[in-house]
């Protein structure tokens, strides 16, 4: 049986212990129909021209882990940003781990999607926000919706600042031979609220894992979101991340994506504006080697006047790795005085490495400032020689230049220990110890 068929036929079993009279059931059932009709995207779809899922979907995966897996804290501690002082929502093979987590309902909700979907006190939020900004006909998000049950639920009430960052971590233990995960996150920031979130997916053993994740984020007036995606998984793990952000008046949302490891990663990151004076920031650093493949597909839809967006993605590709950047900026006729900027700079370190960069600007307003810039180049040999004449060995010199290249993105990371962590990961990846942080 094809994996697609398995996903469809397993749905009954999935819904067995869920409330079928719930409106969410209907949403799931409709979503399954869309997935059934559309199937997985293929290279014939314009949006998937440079990324093929064939190697992922031509095999079988477990959809439901057999039993609850326990992991000792000391095994996974190194993946936490901080030991304490963060809220943590932690999953092992898709199942919530109360032992490793640190959730709260004290003044704000940092808890589980399954709780939000089933408890009456969250009914209104679910009715208002669940599955409200996803594109209707997208097969992978529909697939996620049809299996939506577990994930992170974060609700920040008005005038509230989350004092601690939230870490959302999905571990896969390797107990299942191969695993298909579909976490579903919902994050709501009410008026004038603020939160910082770090998300990562981490295999503990080399085994095939595919995560098809959907995150919906809603920012009300004056809300402030700072979101970091750390993608540094084993080369047996793949991730399709679908993140949708809706912003209202005066809100600021920033997403940093650090793609340093994994087999295949597709980041669909889409911003929708629903008010004026909005700021949206999308930044990314991608450093790949081997046969890794990372595809950033972004959209900022400017549909109101006086808003601003910044996209800045840096990519460094060695060996046979492949990068894709498809950055879309859409400015509606009504969205006058829009400032929308996009940068995508790439360095190819080897002949076999590739990058496909495609800026896509569709501007219907006439009084806007929009720009895009895309560069693809090699390491500057003259600069390398300059550094080497100062006694810096070639490998360190290359690393220094890589850091320098990525610096714009790194310096806007607001959490010092996260910055340190990313610095360390990049240095590690480049095989050097520079002895300083930029």
């Amino acid at each position: 049986m094809e994996f697609k068929e398995k996903l469809i036929s397993s749905h009954l079993a999935f819904e067995e212990d869920l409330d079928l009279f719930d409106t969410v059931h209907e949403t799931r059932a409709n979503a399954l129909k869309i997935f059934e009709k559309k199937g997985f995207p293929s290279k014939r779809d314009e949006a998937w021209k440079y990324t093929s899922l064939d190697s992922l979907i031509n095999q079988d995966y477990s959809l439901f882990p057999k039993s609850e897996i326990s992991i000792e804290l000391k095994e996974v501690k190194k993946y936490f940003l901080y030991d304490t002082d963060t809220y943590k929502i932690i999953f092992i093979d898709g199942v919530y781990s109360p032992f490793l987590s640190n959730t709260t309902h004290d003044g704000l909700d940092v808890c589980l999607m399954s709780a939000a979907l089933s408890k009456p006190k969250y009914r209104k939020i679910i009715d208002n926000y669940f599955n409200k900004i996803l594109p209707n006909e997208d097969s992978l998000t529909a697939l996620n919706t049809s299996y939506a049950k577990e994930g992170a639920f974060i609700n920040i009430p008005k005038n509230t600042i989350a004092e601690k960052p939230v870490e959302i971590i999905h571990f896969s233990s390797g107990k299942e031979e191969s695993l298909w995960l579909q976490p579903r996150n919902l994050i709501v920031l009410d008026r004038n609220s603020q939160v910082q979130i770090i998300e990562r997916h981490q295999s503990l053993k080399t085994h095939p894992v595919v995560t098809n994740s959907v995150t919906e984020i809603y920012l009300h007036n004056d809300a402030f979101l700072d979101y970091y995606k750390l993608q540094n998984d084993l080369t047996s793990a793949s991730l399709i991340d679908n993140t949708f952000i809706q912003q209202e008046k005066n809100s600021h949302a920033s997403v940093h994506t650090f793609s340093l490891g994994g087999k295949l990663i597709r980041n669909n990151l889409k911003f929708f504006h629903r008010g004026e004076n909005i700021l949206s920031t999308l930044k990314g650093v991608t450093i790949l080697e081997g046969k890794q493949h990372v595809d950033h597909s972004t959209l900022v839809h400017h549909s109101k006047p006086n808003c601003e967006s910044h996209q800045d993605y840096k990519g460094i590709f060695s060996e046979r790795s492949e990068g894709v950047f498809n950055g879309q900026i859409l400015v509606d006729k009504i969205a006058q005085k829009t400032n929308a900027f996009q940068q995508n700079n790439n360095i190819l370190l080897d002949d076999k490495a590739t990058i496909n960069s495609k800026p896509q600007l569709e501007i219907f307003a006439d009084d806007v400032k929009c720009s895009h810039g895309c560069t693809i180049g090699q390491m500057d040999e003259e600069a390398l020689f300059y550094l080497r004449t100062r006694g810096i060995p070639k490998k360190e010199a290359k690393a220094l230049m890589t850091y320098a290249f990525a610096n714009n993105v790194l310096e806007s990371v607001k959490l010092p220990s996260l910055k340190k962590r990313i610095n360390g990961q990049i240095a590690n990846k480049l095989g050097v110890n520079l002895g300083f942080e930029l």
Partner: protein, 248 residues
């Protein structure tokens, strides 16, 4: 210190250096002058180990060691320093981080531990003061947006920090006004000692008023066509380079 024997070098198959002999002893300052295109910058690049140039014949010895066996960073570890005519801009790396990385790379090559932070800061303060460098300058990205004069001053600052045995200054005077020229020259003179040597490459005699050479060599068409003392520099200033061409 530096002995160059019958050095021939080419770039992309084009011969540029056509048999250079030079002997620079510790404690000496040598000036290499010559018209544009005579091979001055090529000579400095070749000594520093630029892989774009191919040495086809001859030898470069530093303290008796054949430099052909060493790559650019190893030459730096042996004490070679090249002040670039056009220093490269490296956005995203501050002057301080860069100098720290360079010093520690050199120390590591000598089997030494990393420089203690307090020692580094003290040295940076001392050398930047000597060269009239503002402390704000040190937290800027390396050479990015620096004026021509700032770039050259930064080169000499790096030299002062790294304390090389052999400093090659490639057209360090270009782009400097007279005040900056004096400061830079003063920095070079402070470094000068019994155990190191300086090679000044320049088109004009101007810098040599302040860094007084023991010997002056004139390079033309890839060869040293005349050598002498500092008076030769005055002669070149007065008469230009045309008469030199006839010597070739």
């Amino acid at each position: 210190m530096l002995t160059i024997e019958n050095l021939h070098a080419q770039v992309e198959g084009r011969a540029i250096l056509k048999g250079i002999d030079l002997d620079v002893k510790a404690g000496e300052v040598h000036a290499i002058m010559g018209p544009n295109g005579s091979g001055k910058s090529t000579l400095s690049s070749v000594v520093a180990g630029n892989e774009d140039y191919e040495v086809t014949k001859g030898k470069i010895l530093l303290k008796g060691k054949d430099l052909a066996e060493f790559n650019p960073e190893e030459r730096a570890h042996l004490g070679v320093f090249l002040s670039f005519q056009y220093p490269v801009e490296i956005p995203g790396v501050t002057v301080t981080n860069f100098i720290k990385t360079a010093i520690n790379a050199n120390r590591k090559a000598q089997g030494m531990d990393e420089i203690p932070a307090s020692e580094l800061l003290k040295k940076i303060r001392e050398k930047s003061k000597m060269l009239g460098i503002d402390s704000k300058f040190l937290s800027r990205s390396l050479n990015e947006g620096f004026s021509g004069g700032e770039k050259k001053r930064n080169e000499i600052f790096q030299m002062a920090m790294l304390e090389p045995s052999l400093a090659i200054l490639d057209e360090t005077d270009s782009g400097l006004d007279i005040d900056a020229l004096k400061i830079v020259a003063n920095g070079v003179n402070k470094l000068k000692g019994k155990s190191n040597a300086v090679v000044v490459i320049t088109h004009y005699q101007r810098l040599l008023e302040y860094i007084v050479p023991d010997f002056v060599h004139v390079l033309f068409d890839g060869k040293i066509v005349k050598s002498g003392t500092k008076e030769l520099a005055h002669e070149l200033e007065a008469k230009g380079y045309d008469w030199i061409k006839e010597l070739a």
